[in-house]
Every structure is written in structure tokens, then in C-alpha cells.
Symmetry: C2
């Protein structure tokens, strides 16, 4: 027998129903602390993300109704007993989270104390769960219960306090950021940064960045003798392809540009997507970023359709291909294109969610081109510092809503959630945020 | 009309005939300089390698008779015009090779001047050819024509001269090395070193070696704020699997041990092979290496059968798996085992020659474990310095023939080549070298 809830104990949520394409706005009980490590977060903004569409379309295999969404920021309104003053046995991060703190949540739960969390691989925490699944109801709600909240939530109050010694401006600056800007930290900005970081830090990419030939470029002390011809200027010109210019792909473009401009590397980037509107946005963003670089800048970004991309790369590289490819789509046709575009001893970084088919490579193809592949989910909690740093420095782009160069198209209420899912699914809008209180 | 050759113009070679399993010793013309970049090398020793069996069994797709072998050392007896004093337009390396120089050849041709050679990715030189193919007759011969010889051959005279400033002993020491020891530089020792190097230098492995969490471990300057719990001693204990203990796998074991002992890293290595004799050899080698380390050593190597390996790794790691797996076999069952053994955010390094089947991974499996894969052929020419350094320091192992811890089982003449191929194919002997003049 269920105890009925009073209206004050209920909240509005966006809930998906199987088998798919069925989004309803419902009143459900406000979550409560169920475990001493839990926090309850009052949601200020929740994002609609490309990977929400796997659930929406019914291809994720879910069979029960589920509160959607894995991107949310908000304010802590309740905490479990492990956060109380004097509680012991929990990692340091649990001792600094307070009711009233403004927090950003990664899209997965991470405990903050297992091997994977300590090493920074938070996306594969042994307690990892994705928000927006039956076990962990999602962020498209007025309130969310966050398990392992000390490890999971990125506490902006704590960050400001920790950073203030380095930079007196940081607390003030973080306080001034629009919520729509902070929401990008939940998933898409760290994931784009992760893709860029993996691509540019692979030992097979480092010779081009360090001007030291492989294997001497890897930071390992090598006893031996230099024997080969020195690197020429053209060897150090990095050629990079970014396949897929959805919101994560755009963030990957910005992160790659940021890292390369900071190092004064000569580069050519081809940013590939079949959709004209996405290509136009990336062109506008590149114009803004490169303009700020001024005359000193080296490098060049060009957008391209899928079909013409192979010809462009071939022309740029005399037929040998890109040094590194960021695959930001998550399907086999994107992986196959990445293989075609990459040169021997090149790297393919894939941050999208892939499905059940086998990857489209034979062992011989990978051997014959000496391919390196980096797959998997962004460890958002671990990548936060780099992503926040980029967010702070590029408010001209991330701080906008609805502009020519903005990541976020618009902010809407739950009342039009069903229509918004349909629009997003059909490509009629870009990234949308929900304000659960509108 | 063919001009007949006199006996003094003929040499003995080991030649394979299609469709397979047909090895003949034949008298064929001694090769001549055909191009100004060519050298003719008089072979002192030639190796029989596991990948020769792809040709032997007829699975490599060759349809015409072919002089076998891609491992050879010897002495330069003739050079093309581009090596003559005063010749111009060729890289520096072409100016120092002289008739009479002792040389080691990598198993592939590399020009020494293209982008891939300059960067150190010599295995994918734009002129790359494998010795032992119809276009480039192999090393199991008395004489070999070496294209792009200035880039391809590792000139031991030149090395000594270059190194002598650093170490007055080097020239003398290299001169004292047994030819059977130097022959290991053609393929198996650099390939083992390459596997170890890739495994231990991947950004996903570095946190364990540097005690800095990901992504801060990668040597890139990161502006931001430390947020996670510090690494614990158990995080820094590397768990490594080496799948396949053929000659390259043994070299990979030695290289991994050498790199880890040098850095004073705590580690556990499981060395896996179904063959008892191979496991016994690795145990003996480990005993020798660890004894030399004395009491200070940290770490532990254990050999294992395939079936029991999963249980051992699970026990060692509380079920999370190895940090990194070296796959030194080159087939899908080895790749599948590597996937089962590796932990999330782990790396699989594969240096074996793979075939036509698709790799046994779905995109979801790679995403779900955040797997990184490094595939491909060792850039032997680029890895020579590290491999030679290891060879010099571990003469107790590499200097032997036929001992309990030796890589080379025996040295034989061409007269028993057919029998030797059959024995090697059926696992009745380990690595064999041919002396073409015996």
C-alpha cells in the first residue's frame, strides 16, 4: 500500500516511456536522502544531450519509465549523515560539501575514493552509474538524488576557495559565470577537452609537438645514439581531422585550437560534418578565436562535408593523411572515415558512445597502418580542472545562448519538453537546456 | 635470352616455392647494385623468425618463388654511386657507409629521408618493403641487395664512432659482441622493446609511473585545481600481462623488466603461453635478471598457462584487471584474452602481424572499458638505439646460444634448412640462425 504524497512533496520531472519516442511531464515524489553519502540537489538547469537520444529512441534497451537527463547543475539542499561535522571515514571531499553549495554534476556517479577515482579515471569508478537510468533518475527534474555526492559533485564553492590563493579573481569570476555556461561542464565541454587531450598527448603525436623524433619524444630517458635525419618544418605541421560537429565536436574544436595556439604549433584542422548549419557555426567560432590570436597565429581550420574531406586531406598531406583524428560521432561509418583519413602511425580518438556492432577494422588494417585507438567515456570529474580553465578563458563563446557562435541554442521550460525532444531528434534545433522552474 | 652465369657469380639461397611447405636450397646469381642507393651485403648470419612461417605455410598470398628471411647481419661489399665520396643530394647517413662496414639490417627497407623516417616511424617509410618478398629477396642468402641502404642499414662502425665521445668503451664492446647477439637487433629485440615502450609510455599508464593522477600525469601544463584523493601505494603497483612467449614475447619481458627495475617501480607481471618450454625459459630469465637486482628489487613475474591466467590476474587485482597488456601473438584469440585481462582505462599493445579477420571487439566493448589499442609493426630502425643499449647491458642473456636462458637455440647451415623450417613450424625447436657459409 502506497502512502499518498502531499503536493509539497512532489516535483516535476521529464520522464521517458518505453518502447520509445514517448516523453511525459509528471509529478513524482521529491527524492530523499537514502544513504549517508547522498546529496539532494535542487536543479537550476538541465541539459538535453545527444546521447539522451539513445534512450529517447528506445535503442538503449531500457524497459521501464525513466527520468531523463545526465547534465545538471544546481544547489545542494540536503545531505546524508556522512557530510555532517564530525563524520569520519569518508574522503576529504565529503567534508567540504555543505547545504547551499553550488554544484556541477558529471554525467556519471564516482565515489572519489576507489582506485579509478584516485588515478583520475572517474568515468570507470567501481560505483559508476549513469544519471538518467532507472537506478539513478536523471537531471531533467526539479530535484535529483546524487549518490556518493562527495566524490561525484564538483563543488564550485570549494573550488573557488582552493583557487583563491593562486588567483584572487577566480572566485569572483566563477560567481559571475552564467548557469548556462557552467552546465557545459557536466558533459560536453570536458568530453571535447578529453578528445583533444588524448589526440595531442599520444606518444605518436608528440614528435610533432616536441620536435624530437619517436621514441625520444616520449619523456623517457633513453640511452643511445641519434641516428636519423632531423625533423623538418613540414614534419611539425600537425594535420588533424575532427569528425562530427555536434556540441561535443564543437567543444573538441575549441579545445584543440586552444591547446595548439598556446603551444604555438603550426597546424591544419579539417572539421567534418554533413550538416551545413554545424559547419557554419564552427567557421564562426574559428573566426572569433583566430581573430583574437592576431597576426602571430599559425595554423588553419577548414570545415568540410564528409565526401570532400578525403580529397582535402590528401591535398594537404601529399596523400599520407592526418596525424590524428578525433571521432566525435560514435558509429562505424565515422570510425571508417577516421581510418581512411589517418596516416600510418596515426591515432584515432573516439569519445562517442558506440553500439553492438564489431568495429570496422581487420587486424591487418590496424597492423598495416600502425594505428592507435583511444576509446571511451570522458572521466568528467577528473577533467573538470582543465575544462573549467578553458570555460573561464573562452566566455566569449561559452557564455552565450542563441548566438552565432554559442553552444546552447535556447533555454526552455518542461512544458515543451516533448516537442523539444522531437525537434532535437530531427535536427531542427541544437543544444537545448531546461529550466525546471520556468 | 639469358646470359649464363659462371660459378663465381652464383650464391646459395634458401628459396620458398608456392603453394607452401616447400623450401629448397638453390644456386642463384649474386645480386648486383641496381640503383645508386643500393648496397650489397655479404651475410654473416640470417635468422628464422616466426613471421617467416606466414610465407612458409602459404598464407601470405605469395605466388612466386621467393628467397626467404628478413633478419640478417653482415658486411658491405659493394655500394652504389650515391655513396661515393663527393656524391650529393643524399642524406647524411649515405655519406658514412663504406665497403667493409659491419651492418645490421632491419626487416624492412627505410629511405631515411621521408617524413616517416625523420619522425622515427621507419616501419612505415614511404619506400617501405619487407625483405623476403619477391621484390626484395631475403636474408637467407649469401648476399643481399639492400635498397636505400644509407637509410636502411644500421652501421655499427658509424655508431661506434658517434658514441665514442660518450663512452670510450662502446666501440670496443660492440666489436666484442657475438654475431648471434647482433642478429637479434634485426627484428625480435627492437620489437619486444617497442611493445614494452608503448605499454609503459601510454598516457593511461603514466599515472602509475609518475604518481600523478590523469590527466596531470601527461607532462602537459595544466592550469587548474587538484580535486581528487591522492594516489595510494596500491595504485602505483603496475600489473602487466604479456600474452605470448615466443622470441619476441621473451624480448618484451626482458625489456619491461629492464624499464621497471630502472625506475624502481613496484609491479606484477604475468607472462602467458600455452607451451611449458617457453614458460620455463622465461622463468629462468626472470630468475637471472631479478637475482642481479638483489634485495632492493620490487616486483614479481609469474608465468602462466592461458586458462589459469584470468584467475591469477583477478586475484592479484581484486577483479579489476591489468593496467596494460602486451599482445605478442598476432591473432584474435590473443586479442580477446588481452581484452578480458585488461582493466578499464587499460591499454593493449599489439606488435604481432594480424590477418584478415575483423578484430574481436564491438564498439561498445571498447567504449565500456575505455580501451586504448596500439597496433603495428616495430619501427626497428628508429628503435635501434634503445634496443642496442639493452643488448649491451644484458649480454648475460642475449650473448648466449643454446643455453637455458638464451634467445637463440642453435646456428645451422643451409644444408638442413628444409628440415629446420619443418621443425620450427611444428614447435620442435626455438629460434634458429643460419650461417650461409657453413
Amino acid at each position: 500500500m502506497q502512502v499518498p504524497y502531499s503536493e509539497s512533496e512532489l516535483q516535476s520531472v521529464v520522464r521517458w516511456y518505453p518502447p520509445g519516442y514517448d516523453i511525459r511531464i509528471e509529478r513524482v515524489p521529491i527524492p530523499r536522502v537514502e544513504h549517508p553519502d547522498d546529496a539532494i540537489v535542487k536543479v537550476k538547469l538541465a541539459g538535453l544531450c545527444g546521447s539522451d537520444l539513445h534512450v529517447y529512441r528506445g535503442t538503449e534497451g531500457l524497459t521501464e519509465p525513466t527520468v531523463c537527463g545526465h547534465e545538471f547543475i544546481g544547489e545542494v539542499v540536503a545531505l546524508g549523515a556522512n557530510f555532517h561535522p564530525g563524520a569520519t571515514g569518508r574522503p576529504l571531499l565529503y567534508s567540504v560539501l555543505r547545504v547551499g553549495d553550488k554544484v556541477v554534476s558529471p554525467f556519471t556517479v564516482s565515489c572519489g575514493e576507489c582506485h579509478f577515482c584516485r588515478v583520475g579515471f572517474t568515468a570507470r569508478c567501481i560505483e559508476s552509474r549513469l544519471f538518467g537510468a532507472p537506478q539513478t533518475p536523471g537531471g531533467q527534474a526539479q530535484y535529483v538524488r546524487v549518490p556518493y555526492a562527495g566524490g561525484t559533485l564538483y563543488n564550485l564553492e570549494g573550488i573557488s576557495a582552493a583557487a583563491i590563493n593562486q588567483n584572487q579573481q577566480t572566485k569572483q569570476v566563477i560567481g559571475s559565470l552564467a548557469d548556462s555556461s557552467l552546465l557545459l561542464l557536466c558533459d560536453i565541454l570536458p568530453t571535447g577537452v578529453f578528445a583533444a587531450f588524448q589526440a595531442l598527448n599520444h606518444p605518436k603525436t608528440l614528435p610533432m609537438l616536441t620536435s624530437r623524433s619517436y621514441p625520444h619524444s616520449s619523456g623517457v630517458v633513453i640511452q643511445g645514439h641519434a641516428v636519423l635525419a632531423p625533423l623538418q618544418p613540414e614534419d611539425k605541421a600537425l594535420t588533424i581531422a575532427i569528425v562530427g560537429l555536434g556540441p561535443v565536436g564543437v567543444c573538441a574544436c575549441i579545445a584543440v585550437l586552444d591547446m595548439l595556439f598556446a603551444k604555438d604549433i603550426n597546424f591544419r584542422i579539417i572539421a567534418i560534418d554533413p550538416t551545413q548549419a554545424r559547419r557554419t557555426k564552427v567557421e564562426a567560432i574559428y573566426a572569433k578565436i583566430s581573430q583574437a590570436q592576431g597576426q602571430q597565429r599559425q595554423g588553419h581550420l577548414e570545415v568540410s562535408d564528409v565526401l570532400e574531406s578525403k580529397g582535402v586531406v590528401s591535398t594537404w598531406t601529399n596523400g599520407i593523411g592526418c596525424n590524428t583524428v578525433l571521432e566525435v560521432v560514435g558509429n562505424n561509418s565515422a570510425l571508417s572515415l577516421a581510418y581512411e583519413l589517418v596516416r600510418p602511425f596515426g591515432c584515432i580518438t573516439s569519445v562517442g558512445v558506440h553500439g553492438a556492432p564489431g568495429v570496422p577494422f581487420t587486424g591487418r588494417e590496424l597492423y598495416d597502418k600502425n594505428i592507435s585507438l583511444d576509446f571511451g567515456r570522458c572521466p568528467v570529474r577528473g577533467m573538470f580542472p582543465i575544462a573549467l580553465d578553458l570555460l573561464l578563458r573562452r566566455q566569449d563563446i561559452f557564455g552565450q545562448v542563441g548566438g552565432e557562435t554559442s553552444l546552447v541554442d535556447k533555454i526552455v521550460g518542461f512544458d515543451i519538453a516533448a516537442q523539444t525532444y522531437d525537434d532535437f531528434d530531427k535536427g531542427r534545433c541544437g543544444k537545448v537546456l531546461f529550466d525546471p522552474w520556468r
